[in-house]
């Protein structure tokens, strides 16, 4: 804070505003992580000096990216892609553009961007692009295609390839528990779907609650009349029966996502390990 304050004041007191001093100040702020301040400075240079340099636009995009404003970040990266002749800038802008699409879980849009990546980028940054392809296809639950791209990153490392193959061959981990099957099981006996999905406490909770209401309705039907049981207990039974069904679906889906996520993270660990090994060799 103190350094920032002194830096601003020294700039103001000296009375000298130049594009390069403003840019260097903005870069300092960016490196310190003061993205909003850096953004203001970059925008100031861009506005006052009519400065539409690709680097400047890239840094504005980066400031937005680091603040989590992906829409604005993409706007600036798109401009960079359009105007730059610098391969390094082009690559970084393209990759970050796609990366934000993936972070937004807009996998189809990410795939469109990936297929329209410049050849220069694809040739020079093969691994990065393959990684993005792999993640995107994983998000689209196209696991075989995803495995293909992940393996392409480590194709020189046969051990890593074998590990990725063995991970993706665990179909049970990728596709189970099936939420539809869990739902169908809970339809037959309340709690059975949760049991299948592996959530025993919730299964017991659902079974006991619905079972108690069935028991109560039988008791009321014997003590009074069937109509009394239907009118007094059935609405409650229906609520908890339906609630249990909704829970079953959510629990099974969550469990399946957790399993997929663990496979995904393990794959990235293998890739990272393989890359580190290659770098040390």
């Amino acid at each position: 804070m103190i350094i920032t304050f002194i830096s601003i004041n020294s700039g103001l007191l000296s009375g000298q505003y130049t594009a390069d001093s403003a840019l260097s100040f903005a870069d300092q702020q960016y490196l310190r992580g003061n993205y909003s301040l850096a953004l203001k400075e970059y925008q100031r240079v861009s506005f006052h000096d009519n400065f539409s340099d690709a680097y400047l636009l890239f840094k504005i995009g980066d400031c937005y990216l680091n603040q989590g404003d992906w829409t604005h970040a993409r706007y600036y990266y798109d401009q960079v892609i359009r105007i730059t002749h610098d391969d390094s800038l082009l690559v970084n802008a393209e990759i970050r553009n796609i990366s934000t699409r993936i972070q937004e879980e807009a996998y189809k849009r990410a795939l469109i961007n990936l297929y329209s990546v410049h050849d220069t980028v694809y040739r020079q940054y093969n691994d990065e692009i393959n990684l993005l392809f792999g993640i995107t296809h994983f998000g689209l639950t196209e696991f075989d295609t995803s495995r293909y791209y992940f393996k392409k990153i480590v194709e020189t490392d046969s051990l890593a390839c074998a590990k990725i193959d063995s991970l993706f061959s665990l179909k049970k981990m990728l596709y189970k528990p099936n939420p539809n099957l869990a739902y169908a099981l809970s339809l037959v006996i309340p709690g059975l779907g949760q049991l299948y999905a592996g959530d025993v406490p919730d299964a017991l909770n659902s079974f006991i609650l619905s079972g108690s209401l069935v028991g109560l309705s039988v008791f009321v039907a014997y003590q009074y009349t069937l109509l009394d049981a239907i009118l007094s207990i059935l609405p409650w039974y229906q609520r908890y029966y339906m609630g249990g069904l909704e829970n079953t679906n959510e629990i099974a889906e969550k469990k399946r996502q957790e399993r997929r996520s663990s496979i995904y993270r393990a794959t990235l660990d293998i890739i990272r390990e393989s890359k580190n090994k290659q770098e040390t060799l």
């Binding site: 800038l89 970084n92 908890y240 995904y264 890739i271």
Partner: protein, 134 residues
């Protein structure tokens, strides 16, 4: 003038790899892409421990939320839900007024309540919080 800027841009472009070295690599950025967020809500904040009677109500509320409400369909038309409203009300006004206020809320919780309340932006339900004491 423009030439100067272009030169400046070129210098910074050369410095770009150095500047971007602080960025996380792609694997780290997307490592938690498919992590599942735990959406389980904790209701302990609504409970009160000011006296024994309030503690009993708090315990009953937590039991209801954990074992009964968790198995129910999303039937309440309000945000906060009637049970949370009851606990907040008891916490704010004490047991007697709190229970009366909760009972009043229960009589208003039906399909014809829409139109009398503003809509909560996240839950898209009727927004009816407990009024705080001045």
């Amino acid at each position: 003038m423009k030439y100067k800027y272009r030169l400046l841009g070129l210098v910074f472009a050369l410095l770009l790899p150095l500047l971007s070295s602080g960025q996380e690599d792609l694997i780290s950025t997307h490592y938690h892409q498919f992590d599942v967020q735990d959406q389980k809500v904790s209701y302990r904040q609504y409970t009160s421990t000011s006296n024994e009677a309030n503690q009993i109500f708090s315990a009953l509320f937590l039991i209801y939320k954990e074992f009964i409400s968790s198995q129910d369909v999303d039937a309440c038309v309000f945000t906060p839900s009637c049970s949370v409203y009851a606990m907040e009300s008891i916490k704010e006004y004490g047991i007697l007024i709190g229970i009366c206020s909760a009972l009043d809320r229960l009589t208003r919780c039906h399909g014809f309540a829409a139109g009398d309340y503003s809509i909560h932006p996240h839950t898209h339900k009727n927004y009816d919080p407990v009024e705080k004491k001045d």
